[in-house]
């Protein structure tokens, strides 16, 4: 593209490390406080499970949980994570009920939206209605599935789980 990107050069100046909790472990990152959390996760910390689909807060592929609430990590500056708890897809280990259900129901096709979708689904209440799932995932675009298989996956995970699938009451309250 011809136009220089906005925010270009932001990461060339470092202003001291930023400490936060990542997937239950304390981390400290020496990057510019205005660096996108998405880049910090993917590049500085090597967690590439979080995806970039648009970089403008529209697609939700970059969704992570910040203190339990879903956020678009492409819009979150690193400084906002200071002292807080960040949770990414890697924290689920691969055998979480939602992950198993996404595989069984075909909720993941190309998989580009999947990590973000699962993180957003984690913040849903325990036994969500179809309507509640639709509302809760409205910020996450999927171009492959038409969403039906994703609903079925979330419902299957909910029916399999007696315990909370990861959502805390706090996360539910924080949702807009």
């Amino acid at each position: 593209m011809n136009t220089p990107r906005s925010g270009g050069g932001a990461r060339t100046v470092a202003a001291g490390p930023v400490a936060f909790t990542l997937n239950g472990h304390a981390v400290s990152v020496d990057a510019h406080p205005m660096a996108r959390l998405l880049d910090v996760l993917r590049e500085d910390l090597g967690l590439t499970g979080t995806k970039e689909g648009c970089g403008e807060g529209e697609c939700g592929a970059c969704t992570v949980l910040l203190d339990g609430a879903p956020v678009c990590s492409c819009l979150v500056p690193l400084a906002h994570a200071r002292g807080r708890e960040v949770r990414t897809i890697e924290s689920l280990g691969g055998d979480h009920a939602l992950q198993r259900a996404f595989v069984a129901e075909g909720g993941a096709q190309c998989g580009a939206c999947t990590p973000g979708m699962i993180m957003a689904a984690l913040a849903l209440p325990e036994h969500p209605t179809r309507e509640r799932i639709r509302q809760g995932l409205a910020g996450n675009l999927c171009r492959c599935t038409g969403y039906e298989a994703i609903y079925r996956a979330v419902e299957r995970a909910a029916s399999e789980t007696v315990a909370t699938p990861g959502a805390s009451a706090a996360a539910e309250e924080r949702k807009p």
Binding site: M1, N2, P4, R5, G8, G9, A10, R11, T12, R42, T48, G49, K51, E52, G53, C54, G55, E56, E58, C59, A61, T88, I89, E90, L92, G93, G94, L98, Q99, F102, V103, A104, E105, G106, G107, A108, Q109, C110, G111, A112, C113, T114, P115, I118, I133, R134, Q135, L137, A138, G139, N140, L141, C142, R143, C144, T145, G146, Y147, E148, A149
Partner: protein, 709 residues
Amino acid sequence: MSVVGQSVPRVDGAAKAAGATRYLDDLVFPGMLFGRTIRATIPCGRVTGVHFDFDRTGFTVVDWRDIPGPNAILHVTDDQPCLVQSEVRHAAEPVLLLAHPDRETLWAAQVRLDEERAEPVLDPRRSPRSHKDILIERGDLAAGFAAADVVVEGEYRTGHQEHVYIEPQGIIAVPEEGGGITIHGSIQCPYYVHHALTHLLALPADKVRVVAAELGGGFGGKEDYPSVIAAHAALLAFKARRPVKLVYERAEDMWATTKRHPSIVRHRTGVTKDGRLVAMEIEILLDGGAYVTLSPVVLSRCCLHATGGYRCPNVRIAGRAAFTNSGPNGAFRGFGAPQAQFALEAHMDRVAEALEMDPARLRLRNVLRPGDTMPTGQRMGDDCSAGTVLRQAVRRSGWTRKRRAWQGTDRGIGLALFCHGGGFTGSGEERLASRCTLETTATGVRVLVAATEMGQGSWTVLAQVVADALGVPLEQVAVAVPDTAVVPNSGPTVASRTSMVVGRILERGAKDLKERLGGLAPAEHFRRHGPVSVTTRYEAPPGLSWDEEHYRGDAYATFAWACDVAEVRLDPDTYEARASKLTLVQEFGRPLNPVLALGQIEGGTAQGIGWALTEEVVMREGAMANAQLTNYCIPTTLDTPPMETVVVENPFPHGAFGAKGLGELPMDGPAPAIVNALRHLGLDLREVPATPERVMDAVDRRARPTAGR
């Protein structure tokens, strides 16, 4: 024991749900640079000068003079330059390439182009040049119209559509010792890229290696354009002697890469009082954009689907793909068939209206049955399910009752009958002469094909086919990464051909291999005798013939059939039309994996809903002006209605285990079904997307019935 027909979990599913799949942008190579493309901003004219307003130290800069071979991206022809020499034919045409180790420095660099704008051709109707013209004729059109009681005419339009695969396009080029290059990329067709690069770089085939990463979606958008990006990345990598990653950000991806061809289709139809089609005259115009790319083939498929699922003795189909100074349009799921069948199905409802006949009844009267022929002369066999899907859709959706009960309310119901030819058009599959290899390994058998996994589930389905044909458990079948250094050319991953055509070659190959193994399990045979491999070539189903020059004969080995019923609601305040439910009755031979097949149907339908209602590409000076997901709106969870899917089985004897092509079929129906549901509300819409503005116009016209007829 048998796994074909079972919903086995997809082989790539667990990694995707874990976020562990490595997509192109997740790959890092030592010493890798970042690449950037500088593009023309005028639709037509010349670049006369370049100014670098930055310190060039540490930058690699490439222009057309750095191309070792011809400055051309080879597709159907070679008219598209890799980099602008001086003439510009469309906005966003690539001019210069930059690379730098630091992404921020790279993107902070300012480059100015001196451009001389000339007057562009933006309207395909005014275009002086065709990329391709096609004429299909049958019977006696004049006699047909003479025998008609009623003649209905109309013009129907569809807009551009952007693919919006969630993973944007990207390539990494790695220069190799000895002057070769390895390309890693989000690409549907590794051998297309291979073909284009050997030409551009003037390299022998074995010096170019193309490896397809797993794709975060493709939908046709990664069929031809990746050759351009791979060419750019390769040029930068050669010059810098370092790996180069060229990943587009969303805005660039939307601004610069291909879209679905916009269409203007005119229908003139003669019909008898009792609803028999006696004459169909169809004129198709596609906006091909500035270079030929795939337009001739898209036009071909468009023309061959122009009369859809109906028989008519007298037909004339004239198609043209016109040159314009907009970005080249390319492959998008459906590949011309959605445009053709949008016009046809919207028009059929107008014919029904003129006859005061129920639209489903009009269709039933004319629907293709075994023994009938299409305009090319292709005879329908028992694989024709047009009537079955239509009748089932009417029954399942409660058509007759809702059609009556919703009269005069804010709800409407409409349907569309449609088909999709599987595999390459005409003798295309014979020309491709695809090859697939199976080889024994220490753990079982390995499938070597160029079919890429872009979400559709190809790796899973092909493994299921091999497991059953060989009689081994699924766990013993592995599918190789599509790497041109390893896999044979089994053809591109397009045209709904992977299950049906590639799967069929593998099914035959697995049977051969089974004989070679003489009753031993593959791993056991490997242990005793070392590796065995079997390569199998495409064989056309018997009895097919095609005359490319006159468009006569069997255009496709078979068609898949479907009927969609759409229910819509109109918001009287915002003029927003919303789909509230879709009933999808689809026949695609036999589902090899029902969960994955359902995913194709629901996902393709959602793309069709977007094309029908919200996805409007705003073009300014021949380029997308709303190149942002903020104002180019694909369906979200809130825009996608519940779907009820009915799968009709009619196994096709020449597809793998009865499969026909499925991937594209679901894209063809939702738009006409939705527009016909709006017609049920009395709204005369002949163009998609049916945005609130267009709906409001139609509401105004409904209020003044004489206007706009």
